[in-house]
Structures are given as structure tokens and as C-alpha cells.
């Protein structure tokens, strides 16, 4: 029993990683006031770029870098349209997803059905062999730890640095931030690119570590879940972690439950992660004031400097 629970927890940490990476990036973009609904498209382009990177260079690190760059490039297209040309963010983000699905399929055409070794797991001699704690805490691949470190870093950046304060100010009230003299568009550009790079990493986690292969549309809607997690987290990085683990855990839990033979139709079991997310959101949203404090007031709004 303990072994099964441990196994479930390990699987949850891994399943949550792509969601965590993409959602944390999107959170930073949204905190600066940019709503980029193109996460799914950016993840896919990241996934295929990372895969191609590893296939071509043979280096996992270069693959990861390629994925982050590709995600950032996709975000650059988005930023050019929404920040430069003031296009509507919601529609542009959705268009970016369409574009990314097509582009990734086109890029990856020759790489379908090619296997490669997954990213190495970082075993710590001695510690990895400890019962329960060993496999739970040690022996994951580098991206798992990177994701966790980035959550902490983003929290620290947003709430404990001056630049983080400026970024939040821009998302809260761009006119005021502009009046004080902050470069609103440049800050939003940076935040958007960071979001894209993180989505790219999230995609690469799928194609390099989770299921080391490339297949069209392999993110299978995880970009949308990542977007939902940002809302779920009420724009707090720590809560993204909780949300990703909750969603990943319930998703896996229902599969474990099926394996145990729970006599409930699988379709109802599969509803559980979505329902659980809604229920927890309802429970934590009741405090109206705190939600309002966290939600960036200018999210999705176009900044007209001289207006």
C-alpha cells in the first residue's frame, strides 16, 4: 500500500511537471497584463523543437535550449501582434495555437516514429536508495528540479525584487506605470517571451522525458489545463504548484482507481480531475478581496500609450 502511494506521488510529480512549467510562464505573462491563450501552440512547437534539437545535436541540454528558444520565438510573434500592433490578445492567442499545431506538425513530419533515450535521471548516491523518500525526492530528471526551482524563482522575483514589483505594477495599471516612466511594452515583451520559453520547456518535457518521442498534437490539451491552472492559482506561483499536483494527482488517481477495478464507468472517473479543480477553486475563491488583490487588473487589455 505504501509502495503504491509512493508510486502515485512520484508519478504525480512527473505528470505535473509540463503543466507546472507552462503555467508558471503564463503566470508571469499574465501578471504583466498579457493574456496569451497560445500556450498549447507554444508547447507543441517547443516539444518538436526540443525533439529535433536532441536528434540533430545528440545533446539533451541543447534540445532543452532549442525548445525554450522556439517557445520564445512563438511568443515573439504574439508580442509583435498584440504589443506592437495592438491586436486583440484573446483572438491572437487562439490563432497562435492554430498556427503552432500546424507548424509543429510540419516541422516534425520526418521525426514521427523515431525513438530516443529519455533525459537521464539524476541519481544521488546513497540518498536515491532511501525507502520512500529516496525515489520520491531524488532520481528525477533535471527538468523536474528545474521546474520546481523556477516556481520558487518566479515567486521570489515577483514578490521580493524591485523588477518584480514593476512587472506587477505594469499588469495592475499600465497607465500609471507608464506615467511613472516604466517601459510598459518592453516589460510586457520580456514577460511574454519568458512565458513562451516556459511553455516551450513544458512541451519539451513531454517529448524528451515523459514520453520520449514526437507525435502530432502530443500535448493533447495540456496547454489549456496550464491556462486554467493560472486562474486556479489566483496568480500565485506557489498555488500553481498545488494546482498542478492536484490535477496531475487526480488524473493519475483515477487511472489507479480503474486499475483497482472500481466499478464506475471510466468516463465518470475521467471527469474527476476537472471536477476536483472546479471544487477546489470554488472553495478558495470565496474570499473576494484576496482574489481581487491577486488578479492583474489590466490583464488582456491593450496598452495605448498616449490615449
Amino acid at each position: 500500500m505504501l509502495e503504491t502511494v509512493t508510486a502515485l506521488l512520484i508519478a504525480t510529480i512527473i505528470a505535473a511537471t509540463p503543466l507546472l512549467l507552462a503555467a508558471t510562464g503564463e503566470l508571469v505573462a499574465e501578471k504583466s497584463g498579457v493574456l496569451n491563450l497560445g500556450v498549447e501552440g507554444m508547447m507543441l512547437v517547443g516539444a518538436v523543437s526540443g525533439f529535433i534539437g536532441v536528434q540533430v545535436t545528440g545533446s539533451g541540454t541543447l534540445g532543452i535550449v532549442a525548445a525554450a528558444l522556439a517557445g520564445a520565438l512563438m511568443a515573439l510573434v504574439f508580442a509583435f501582434l498584440t504589443l506592437g500592433l495592438k491586436a486583440n490578445q484573446v483572438a491572437t492567442g487562439l490563432a497562435l495555437t492554430l498556427f503552432g499545431i500546424g507548424l509543429s506538425a510540419l516541422m516534425g513530419k520526418d521525426f514521427v516514429g523515431t525513438p530516443h533515450d529519455r533525459l537521464p535521471q539524476l541519481a544521488v548516491p546513497g540518498l536515491s536508495d532511501l525507502p520512500v523518500i529516496g525515489p520520491l525526492l531524488f532520481g528525477h530528471d533535471a527538468l523536474v528540479y528545474l521546474a520546481l526551482a523556477l516556481v520558487a524563482a518566479v515567486h521570489w522575483f515577483l514578490y521580493h525584487t524591485r523588477r518584480g514589483l514593476v512587472l506587477r505594477a505594469v499588469g495592475e495599471n499600465h497607465d500609471a506605470a507608464h506615467a511613472i516612466g516604466y517601459p510598459v511594452l518592453r516589460i510586457r515583451l520580456m514577460a511574454t517571451l519568458f512565458g513562451g520559453a516556459m511553455s516551450g520547456l513544458g512541451g519539451a518535457y513531454l517529448s524528451l522525458a515523459y514520453t520520449p518521442q514526437w507525435a502530432e498534437n502530443m500535448t493533447a490539451g495540456r496547454g489549456w489545463i496550464a491556462l486554467a491552472l493560472v486562474v486556479f492559482a489566483t496568480w500565485k506561483p506557489g498555488r500553481v504548484l498545488v494546482g498542478a499536483w492536484l490535477f496531475g494527482g487526480v488524473t493519475l488517481g483515477q487511472l489507479y482507481g480503474q486499475g483497482l477495478g472500481i466499478p464506475v464507468p471510466s468516463q465518470f472517473m475521467a471527469m474527476l480531475p476537472y471536477l476536483a479543480t472546479v471544487l477546489v477553486l470554488v472553495a478558495i475563491s470565496r474570499d473576494r478581496v484576496r482574489i481581487r488583490l491577486n488578479a492583474p487588473a489590466c490583464i488582456g487589455k491593450t496598452f495605448h500609450p498616449a490615449a
Binding site: V77, L81, L85, K86, A87, N88, V90, A91, T92, L94, A95, L96, L98, F99, G100, I101, G102, L103, A105, L106, K109, H178, G181, P183, L185, R186, E216, W224, L227, A228, V231, F232, P265, Q267, F268, A270, M271, Y274, L275, T277, V278, L281, V282, S285, R286, R288, I291, H304, P305, A306, A307
Partner: protein
């Protein structure tokens, strides 16, 4: 020297009509480059996308069939978006509309009458509205974001439909395959022209466009919605009941998505299958914004988007252009359409900004 944007005093009425033309011109240019780069004859590819699908009477009908659910759904969404009510889950409401409306068709299978179709349409509206009532209730009562709740309920609705057609609503003569019976004749949308699939749903969509326009332009609710969207503070000073408006917007957009769902099930599909959700609920979000949240604009946008989908099929058939290229091409077209909108509110000036250089 970089170009920069200078705001116009007011929206340019010329550009409102010129920007789509410009966007299409840019798309043709970029499309030519894309197809040539991938090794396909650009002229024939563009012909396959934009001319071939609508060069037959049947094809025109198909365009309308494809644009109908998009239009219906987008009109409702646009009204909500104007009031800053973010219903992202129209896809789920569409499914539940199909489930409730289609459920009626199955319940009265073999004992139908001319009353059945109107009842199904109402049931479809009800199904979509009920599903949208969940985010409305949770938003107004518990302050839970309708973005997240409506999106999550999409997955729940899709799985529920899946269970129905795998289990209780499975066609008893269907070798246990996951689909319902074929609807009886009275439960099918009447086809308007022999030889096409153009059905009654299209005129209904037209009516909804006009109704949406009337609501926004001529009614007090429409006025309240616009005020709430532009300046929420003013809305609360004016004493508008924000909760009621949230309920109204979600029920309306949900109901229309549900209507789209039952029309799709009773129209070109003719039964309930797991393939009822085809992403119309999400595509409709793009359609709503492309149409600038205006019902008449939405009609045009829905036709354009529908054309690119059908054109993608044509391009595959006549040129064996991979479907992935269609995705890239569609993305580009949307980028151009969204980007050129800037010219309505801004003019382009070359050179350094005069007074702002020091600020940024």
C-alpha cells in the same frame, strides 16, 4: 528609422472596410510565399482554398453548413465578451445542447410528429443554458472564475456524451458501436435545397444575428452590457445589477451554443456520436473577435473561417497539401486580420517620436 503608431482621434471609417481587404491581400502574398517555399504551385493552392470550395452550389451550401454553428455560438459569446464575461466553455454548452435536444429525439423515436423539432430546439437551448448556469452560479455565488469553470465543464460534458453513446443511448441495432440511433425524419433539420446539405439552421443563425444586433443596438440590456464592459465602475454607479448581467450573458451565450449543438446533431450529423464536439465552441471565440464583437461582423468572420476549413480539405484533395500546412496558413490569415485592425485606430508615421523619446 522605425515606423511608429500615432493614435487617430477617432476610428477611421474607411479603414473599417479597408483593413480586411488589406489583410486578404497580405494573406495572398504570404500564402504564395509559403506554398512556393514548400514546393506547391501557389496559384493552384490559393484557388483550392478560396475558389474551389464555393464554385459549386453544393459547395456554397457546405460553407453555410459549416458557418452556422460558428455564427450561432459566436454571437452569444460576443455579447458576453462585451460585458467582460469570459465564457470559454461554449464547446461544452454546445455538447449539452446536443445531448438534451438529441435526447428528446431519441426518447420519442418512432412516435414523433411535427412538434418534435421545435421542442428539440428549445431543449437544445435549455441544455446549453443549464450547462452555462454552472459557471454563472459559481461566479455570482462563490466568485469562482467563469473562465476556469466553463473550460473545465467542456471536458465533463464531452465525457458525459461519450458515456451516453457508449452506454444507455447506444443504438440497440448498432452492434454496440458508440453512437445513438439515427434520428427519425421529424427530428432532422429540414434541408432547404435538394442536392445540398443546407438546412433550416442557417436561417435560424441569420435570425440570431439580427436578434443579437437588435439586442446590442436597441435595448436597455444591450446598453447595460456595453457600459459594464467599457467602464465597470460607471455601471455600478448607474446601479446596474452586475450579477444579473453575468447571469444574462452566460445563459444567453450558453443557450445559443446549445442551439448550435442541437442543430448540428439534428442537421448534418443526424444522430448523437462522440464526434459532436468539433471545436466550434473554441473557434467561435476567434470568430467573435474577428467580427469585432459585432453580430454582422461575426457573420462575415464565420463565413471566412468556414471557408478556410473547407478550403483546407480542397487543398488536400486537389494538391495533397498536408493538413498541417492548412493550420499554418489559417494562423497566418488570422494574424493578418488581427494585425491590420491597428490601422483603424492608428496611423503609421515614420521617424522618431517627438515628445516621448525621453520617457521610454
Amino acid at each position: 528609422m522605425w515606423p511608429r503608431l500615432v493614435p487617430r482621434g477617432e476610428a477611421s471609417p474607411v479603414m473599417v472596410w479597408m483593413t480586411p481587404v488589406l489583410a486578404v491581400a497580405l494573406t495572398l502574398l504570404a500564402g504564395t510565399a509559403l506554398f512556393a517555399a514548400l514546393g506547391y504551385p501557389p496559384g493552384r493552392a490559393l484557388h483550392a482554398y478560396f475558389v474551389e470550395p464555393v464554385s459549386t452550389f453544393y459547395g456554397l451550401g457546405e460553407l453555410a453548413v459549416k458557418a452556422t454553428p460558428l455564427t450561432l455560438t459566436a454571437v452569444g459569446l460576443a455579447i458576453g465578451f462585451r460585458a467582460n464575461v469570459w465564457n470559454i466553455g461554449a464547446e461544452g454548452q454546445l455538447v449539452m445542447g446536443a445531448v438534451l435536444g438529441g435526447g428528446l429525439a431519441l426518447a420519442f423515436w418512432g412516435e414523433e410528429g411535427p412538434w418534435l423539432m421545435p421542442a428539440m430546439l428549445l431543449a437544445g437551448i435549455l441544455g446549453g443554458a443549464l450547462w452555462a448556469a454552472i459557471p454563472a452560479f459559481l461566479r455570482t455565488r462563490f466568485n469562482a472564475s467563469e473562465i476556469l469553470v466553463s473550460l473545465m465543464m467542456v471536458y465533463v460534458a464531452t465525457l458525459f456524451l461519450n458515456w451516453l453513446v457508449h452506454g444507455p443511448w447506444r443504438d440497440p441495432e448498432g452492434f454496440n458501436f458508440p453512437q445513438s440511433r439515427m434520428f427519425g425524419n421529424d427530428a432532422l433539420m429540414p434541408v432547404l435545397f435538394e442536392g445540398t446539405r443546407l438546412h433550416l439552421g442557417t436561417p435560424i443563425a441569420f435570425a440570431v444575428v439580427l436578434g443579437g444586433w437588435f439586442l446590442l443596438a436597441r435595448t436597455f440590456v444591450g446598453f447595460q452590457i456595453k457600459v459594464l464592459g467599457l467602464t465597470p465602475a460607471a455601471a455600478s454607479y448607474a446601479g446596474f445589477d452586475q450579477r444579473r448581467l453575468i447571469w444574462f450573458c452566460l445563459l444567453l451565450s450558453g443557450g445559443l451554443a446549445g442551439l448550435a449543438g442541437v442543430i448540428e446533431a439534428a442537421g448534418p450529423v443526424g444522430q448523437l456520436t462522440p464526434a459532436i464536439p468539433q471545436g466550434y465552441g473554441f473557434t467561435a471565440i476567434i470568430v467573435a473577435f474577428l467580427g469585432r464583437l459585432h453580430p454582422l461582423g461575426i457573420l462575415l468572420a464565420a463565413l471566412l473561417i468556414a471557408l478556410t476549413y473547407i478550403g483546407g480539405e480542397s487543398a488536400q484533395i486537389t494538391l495533397q497539401l498536408p493538413i498541417a500546412v492548412t493550420g499554418v496558413f489559417q494562423g497566418m490569415l488570422l494574424f493578418f486580420l488581427l494585425a491590420t485592425d491597428v490601422l483603424i485606430r492608428y496611423r503609421v508615421r515614420w521617424g522618431a517620436p517627438a515628445g516621448e523619446a525621453g520617457r521610454a
